[in-house]
């Protein structure tokens, strides 16, 4: 049986599935239930400064985009950091760590960008026995208006500065949680590393308006007729997050930096994808808020089965395994060619591949053949774009088959398995034919 245990920047946990800092991790009661369900760790909902707690709206804090059958495709919130007194949170963290010594408890923090503020809170957190801290530089709503959260995460210099303070005033591992509401995610990650942070976690939520109530003419959710943007998460953000994770994992300045992956993880497969792109742990929130804590049991058993099947004895055997295969467009092999193939036994004849290709792409799929409804790829027109396979409602009905030692009937070019990319291409005015990655044809 595969060993799912992790040691992430010195924080040990029986599995890589952690609950992200969010409503599910706001108090001991929830954490107790989470650990009983099997979660490997939690990131306690963000603590703020000592003093009067923050105040939340007493109304809708969540919005969603629904897919078929009202599945939650995307989710957002306007909830702030914990609105419970600091001392109560610290007591509960202490108690939970005592009750669950084998689980990871990381504490998320957000205090003003003043060294004294951090110096005040860090020892108190350390005293709880917590395994580490996560700096909330990502929250994009409410707190950012007060100069915290994503307002810090969007300025690499601040990220570096606060990370440095935390390392200077605490023995705990420091994880910097990044905001995706930024042009180049590598910049704050580099800053975190410069500041001495042990790891980054990403992504926090994305600035979002989930919809508009067309009767009241106000975005949703609204508070007494007015709305503000929230932070979006859930399955829809996973592709955005995966890209940002990969950017950090392969950038020379941040390569090898431990990453905790966050964003739309619902299943073991989602988690494994993050891990393949370099994440040592993953954090989950939305899926738990939609389905409850039991989902972790599917994640644990699914990841075990996958690792057993692939022969990975421990998680580190495949963390980052896909990173070397992420590259720039300019290095993609322009000699490679595929054609779509439709499995006629699986085809249900909905015709969507035809109309998608006919209306919006390359007119490369038939509709009628000899007067009969029949969908087949026209190799002379097919550019291998994958649109048909992507929109086909039947899994594996349309597959993309590489051409091997044969003529591409669209271009007339013989595909022989050679490699050449844009940097070498004759159409590229900037081509550098003298330094090809592979011998030219």
């Amino acid at each position: 049986m595969a060993d799912l245990s992790v040691n992430f920047v010195g924080i040990k946990a029986p599995n890589p599935f952690w609950l992200a800092s969010a409503p599910p991790t706001d108090k001991a009661y929830n954490i107790e239930r989470a650990f009983r369900a099997g979660w490997g760790g939690v990131v306690w909902k963000t603590l703020g400064e000592e003093g009067p707690p923050v105040v939340n709206v007493s109304g809708p804090r969540y919005g969603a985009v629904h897919g078929p059958d009202r599945r939650v495709a995307a989710f957002n919130n306007i909830e702030l950091i914990t609105d419970r007194p600091l001392e109560i949170n610290l007591q509960e963290i202490t108690e939970m760590k005592r009750r669950w010594p084998d689980r990871a408890i990381v504490v998320s923090l957000m205090v003003p960008c003043e060294e004294e503020a951090w110096k005040r809170i860090l020892p108190r957190v350390e005293a709880t026995g917590a395994d580490g801290i996560e700096l909330n530089f990502g929250c994009p709503h409410g707190m950012s208006e007060r100069g915290m959260g994503s307002a810090v995460g969007q300025v690499p210099e601040y990220v570096e500065m606060v990370a440095r303070w935390c390392k200077a005033h605490s023995r705990m591992p420091v994880i910097v949680k990044l905001t995706p509401n930024i042009t180049d995610i590598r910049k704050p990650a580099e800053a975190a590393r410069r500041g001495g942070a042990d790891a980054v976690s990403l992504i926090n939520t994305i600035n979002s308006i989930m919809g508009v109530d067309l009767d009241r003419m106000v975005p949703t959710p609204h508070t007494d007729g007015k709305a503000t943007h929230g932070g979006m998460c859930g399955p829809a953000v996973k592709p955005i997050a995966l890209n940002m994770v990969a950017e950090i994992a392969r950038a020379p300045a941040t390569r090898g930096m431990p990453i905790s992956g966050i964003g739309g993880i619902e299943t073991w497969r989602d988690a494994a994808e993050y891990m393949a792109l370099g994440c040592g742990t993953v954090q989950v929130c939305t899926a738990a808020m939609v389905y409850g804590f039991k989902i972790v049991q599917e994640m644990i058993t699914g990841l075990e089965a996958y690792m057993d099947e692939r022969g990975y004895a421990r998680v580190s055997d495949f963390v980052g395994a896909a990173v070397p295969n992420v590259t720039d467009w300019q290095y993609l092999n322009l000699d490679y060619a595929v054609k779509a193939r439709i499995d006629q036994d699986l085809c249900i004849k909905c015709g969507r591949c035809h109309v998608a290709c006919e209306d919006t792409s390359h007119q490369a799929i038939t509709h009628m053949v000899n007067g009969v409804r029949h969908f087949e790829v026209i190799d002379e027109e097919c550019v291998g774009c994958n649109l048909c396979a992507t929109i086909c409602p039947i899994e594996n009905c349309i597959t993309m088959q590489p051409l091997v030692n044969e003529v591409d009937r669209r271009t007339g070019r013989f595909v022989d398995g050679s490699y050449s990319n844009w940097t070498q291409h004759p159409n590229n005015p900037m081509a550098k034919p003298l330094e090809p990655l592979e011998p030219a044809e």
């Binding site: 249900i348 004849k349 909905c350 015709g351 969507r352 035809h354 109309v355 409804r373």
Partner: protein, 454 residues
């Protein structure tokens, strides 16, 4: 078999009638409609549309339902089929749109097109909306004979095109088979009449009830008085069993039974036999058998001369009969009836088999005790009403011959629905006939040179 024949009313407790004759399918609520609708794949050149005799854009109306636009969905349906509400209830969708649904290939279960169609049309009609308007007056007048689905479909389309329409109906009530000829659990709460009223509310249509062709007026009159005539006459007679019935009581036409049931103000007053035999294999046989059972008959047997696969009733309808406790016996035909004191007591059948396409008797016989026997072996068009008018219509296979535009052999006369040759004896086909005829009449009245008839 000495007891008196047992045909009587009030076999059930008072509350049981309403329960037995309630809606066959509960309508989909908004959530159900959305979940059901989201299964639609929005096919290109969708097979369900091809399979619909009225060509309703099914993927479009389902998409409109799922996006919270049920009235728009209804408009999509009604533009193609003004009887979209009734067709959603009575269409054999399992042999039309739903049979063609590609989801059958994927999961063996089609999108619930019929129920979704009902959801949309109910929403619009329930809101009291009439999205159609009478067209700007063309100054032309059209006579429509028969206020069934064909006639009213034709009348409605003509009215929206601006023509003045007079509908002649022999019965005291409009609606045709929708009102008189289908099982009541398929059209509850007076839906058929409500739909007729809704269709007529477009304006420009005058319905004259109790006016029968051949009795109260002739085709010659209509051709003289109107710019065009549409005949939606339906079928007038029932095929005979071909055996001597000895004048026994208890032998009835299934269509008459169904009509009496539909028009009965109190089902508890409607007599039904304790043991009922229905001869036939179509929808009428099933409608009669199931309703006899629902009225409290103890034993109801459908006897059909061929196999399940040849029955006109779809597999779904056959199953409906069976789950309602009706026994279906295949491969047998009646050879004699036996009575006592002038009343039916039993029916004797011979077994049949198919020999190279020919139906032959096996020689084996059996006898079913029966208090009541319903004939449901098809209906006939009786051209007699058209005779004596001096105008002669060509017939084909015993019904009025029409071309693709539903033009008859007589200039200025169109026909559609069950009285026209080449149809499938379905409401939805009648609606399409009426619609196509109206479009053809409109083209003719506006002076377009018609294409030569086939």
């Amino acid at each position: 078999m000495t007891a008196a024949p047992d045909i009587r009313a009030g076999r059930l407790a008072p509350g049981e009638y309403a329960e037995n004759f309630s809606d066959l399918h509960a309508p989909l609520d908004r959530h159900e409609a959305r979940v059901a609708g989201e299964r639609c794949l929005f096919c290109y050149d969708a097979p369900c549309v091809t399979a619909c005799p009225t060509g309703i854009d099914i993927p479009l109306f389902i998409r409109q339902i799922t996006t919270g636009n049920p009235h728009g969905a209804a408009r999509t349906i009604l533009d193609a089929n003004i009887f979209g509400g009734m067709c959603a209830r009575v269409c054999p969708t399992e042999t039309l749109c739903e049979q063609a649904c590609v989801r059958n290939e994927a999961e063996g279960k089609p999108v619930q097109i019929g129920l979704l169609q009902r959801h949309a049309t109910d929403a619009l009609m329930g809101a009291g909306k009439q999205p159609y308007r009478r067209g700007a007056p063309s100054g032309r007048r059209v006579a429509v004979v028969g206020a069934g689905p064909a006639g009213l479909s034709c009348a409605h389309r003509l009215a929206t095109l601006g023509h003045e329409v007079v509908v002649y109906e022999a019965r005291p009530k409009a609606g045709g088979l929708n009102e008189h000829g289908i099982a009541s659990y398929k059209s509850v709460d007076g839906f058929a009449q409500a739909e007729v009223e809704w269709i007529l509310s477009v304006g420009g249509i005058e319905v004259r009830e109790g006016q029968q062709l051949g009795r109260d007026f002739t085709l010659v009159d209509l051709r003289r008085d109107y710019d065009a005539v549409f005949l939606g006459l339906g079928l007038q007679a029932v095929n005979s069993l071909g055996i001597a019935d000895g004048g026994l009581t208890g032998i009835e036409d299934a269509v008459a039974f169904i009509e009496a049931l539909r028009q009965s103000p109190d089902l508890a007053t409607l007599p039904v036999g304790r043991r009922v035999v229905v001869i036939g294999g179509g929808m009428t046989a099933v409608d009669a058998a199931v309703q006899a059972k629902k009225l409290g008959a103890e034993e109801v047997t459908i006897v059909y001369r061929r196999g399940a696969g040849q029955m006109g009733a779809s597999a779904y309808e056959q199953e409906l009969a069976q789950v309602n406790g009706v026994v279906i016996r295949h491969w047998a035909r009646p050879v004699s009836v036996q009575g006592e004191g002038g009343a039916l007591r039993s029916v004797t059948f011979t077994g049949t088999r198919d020999e190279g396409g020919q139906l032959v008797d096996t020689g084996e016989t059996f006898t079913l005790p029966a208090d009541q026997l319903f004939r449901a072996i098809g209906q006939l068009f009786v051209p007699g009403d058209l005779e004596g008018s001096g105008d002669v219509l060509d017939l084909a296979s015993g019904r009025i011959a029409v071309d693709a535009e539903r033009r008859t052999s007589l200039a200025g006369v169109w026909a559609g629905g069950d009285c026209a040759a080449g149809g499938r004896d379905l409401t939805v086909v009648a609606v399409e006939d009426g619609k196509q005829a109206a479009l053809s009449i409109d083209r003719a009245l506006l002076g377009f040179v018609p294409m030569a008839a086939e």
